[in-house]
Amino acid sequence: MATTPTSTARAASTSRSGSTSRWRGIAFVGVLAVALVVAPLVSSPYVNYQLSSIAVFAVAILGLNIVMGYTGQVSLGQSAFLGLGAYIAAYGILHGWPGPLTLLLCAVVPAVVGMLVALAAARLRGLALAMITLALPIVGVPLARRFDDFTGGSQGQVVSWLRAPESTGLANDQWRYYVVVLIAVVAFVLARNLVRGRIGRSFAIVKENEAVALSMGVSPYRTKVLAFTIASLLGGVSGFMYLAIVQYTSPETLVFATSINLVAAMVIGGSASIIGTALGAVYYVLVPVLAGQVNSSRTALISGAVLLAVLFLLPAGLVSLPRRLARLRSSTRRPHPSAPPTTSDEATHRASAPSATTDQHS
């Protein structure tokens, strides 16, 4: 079939917008980098603490997004790995282990635990999997209370570490901010490369259809175990970061409610999206704070209402906001869009919707 003029024009415009969006992307990264470096120098310790919290939970949500958003495997247990990482970090610090070794253990031990759980759980799908991951924080909290030699029991562990070195001239909150943001940036860059590469494609095909994955030589079982392991690793790392800024951990760190809120934040930010992960973390940290400032006794009510409102307006998450706005603008500019530029976009949406349902039934 001959190429119609419209499609050529569209192709040209795509390539043009492709290169502009590339430059825009680079500019965006540049501005973001400057903002990340400058922010703590001009903010109050309170703001720095909130910004650092965003970095912490961004890494936890990143792990969740890899297993749930990218690979399509429900996980209701991410808080268990966050808590495990925080406890390992506390133990290491109280026993005087060097920081980098502690960080390494905070990554490796949860990853091994996650892998062992996944080796059994990855045979299951859907709700059985949800059940097993749900059991992790439920069993983890009483375990943390019981093994108080290691965890400090219900009182938890208070640590005092990661003071800013004299030579830097930074305050503690600024120094901790730089440490956790550095870890978060490294985690995000690695995760971005991971999901865009061969492994990311195998995640996507396992999410889409396991039988097809198998026929392409991708083992769904191994892929799922890998996704879980990475998610647990990132959960453990976020636990290390959590301890770095909060300086305290207790069984409360790993409660089931945290897992649920992390899942909500992931979907709010944008499933299977790196930028969405960061937006989800911003949401996770800021909405309760802002709701508390509006009315401290109505925090839950306001956060719930905001959550519901975002779901209503942006079912694909905050990351879809620019696209949504663009569509709104184009529809107001042209009252009768005979050939809206978003058609292909909608088509992919429709194509992916039924596959999501099949996924759920299988």
Binding site: R123, P142, V267, L301
Partner: protein, 293 residues
């Protein structure tokens, strides 16, 4: 021996509460394919209605009836007003919407009644009776009896009424049901309404023991989820058996295994559930789903 029976009966009465919420979860799952995290929130909201009525001097039984009716209305309303919007979309988004409902509902309860727990009058007299040399609380027996009645009623509804048949048809295949002229959306509303009404019963039964507060059922919800999944999400009988199993195992482990004790007893049923699921992924009573390519 008598101590053993007492522990088992207490476990069964806990299990009855888990079972009521688990049944509600199964009901919604069968109708919409969703795990409804708002189940606990709906139940607590309805229970607070009963609480407000008893505070106003209404007898508990009447308050229970009012809570069940209002719970039904609330469930139907939430399905129509909120969940309808997410049907047919990404299931993850729909599940998070139920989480949002949970947060909003407990926020609302806290708005009117605060977060601190209030005492709640019991439907059954707070006495124990001796049966065959064993002392069992009337509350336990009453809870178990009510649950059995509810279960039989549900079974009758689904097996021997036209409404139940229609609901099963919608759960099985919404498209075909719609084509055969069934009012699918209205049936979904009824499904949510029934689930919320069931939650109201569970809430009123458990409130005297737990004291009523917005977070009263958070923990029960977790047990109920475990029961529903262990029993196989499409099997009401399975959910009840699993809930009884979880309640009894938890109580026995807490009572007899010294190193487990009261704090770790929750771990025992969950570890049992994990082992069972790894061996039998579809749950105890669930049908095995064959995946077609």
């Amino acid at each position: 021996m008598s101590y053993f029976i007492q522990v088992v009966v207490d476990g069964l009465s806990n299990g009855a509460i888990y079972a009521a919420i688990a049944l509600a979860i199964v009901l919604v799952y069968r109708a919409t394919g969703l795990i409804n995290f708002a189940q606990g929130g709906m139940a607590v909201t309805a229970t607070f209605v009963a609480y407000a009525l008893t505070q106003a001097g209404v007898p508990v039984l009447l308050a229970l009836v009012a809570a069940v009716v209002l719970g039904f209305a609330l469930g139907a309303l939430l399905e129509r007003g909120v969940m309808r919007h997410f049907e047919g979309g990404d299931p993850d988004t729909a599940v998070v919407a139920t989480i949002a409902l949970l947060v909003v509902l407990s926020g609302l309860s806290a708005f009117f009644f605060g977060y601190e727990p209030h005492p709640f009058p019991s439907l059954f007299p707070n006495r124990t009776i001796g049966v065959l040399g064993v002392f069992v609380s009337l509350r336990s027996i009453g809870t178990i009896t009510v649950l059995i009645v509810v279960m039989v009623a549900l079974q009758l509804l689904f097996r021997s009424t036209k409404l139940g048949l229609a609901m099963r048809a919608v759960a099985d295949n919404p498209q075909s049901s719609a084509l055969s002229g069934l009012p699918v959306s209205r049936l979904l509303m009824i499904g949510w309404g029934l689930a919320a009404a069931l939650g109201a019963i569970a809430g009123v039964l458990v409130a005297p023991q737990l004291f009523i507060s917005p977070g009263m059922l958070d923990f029960v919800l977790v047990y109920a989820l475990a029961s529903a999944i262990l029993g196989g999400l499409d099997s009401p009988v399975g959910a009840v058996v699993a809930a009884a199993f979880i309640g009894v195992v938890e109580n026995l482990a807490g009572a007899y295994l010294d190193f487990i004790g009261d704090d770790l007893k929750i771990a025992v049923p969950f570890i049992a559930v994990i082992v069972i699921l790894v061996v039998r992924p579809q749950g105890l009573f669930g049908r095995k789903v064959t995946v077609r390519v």
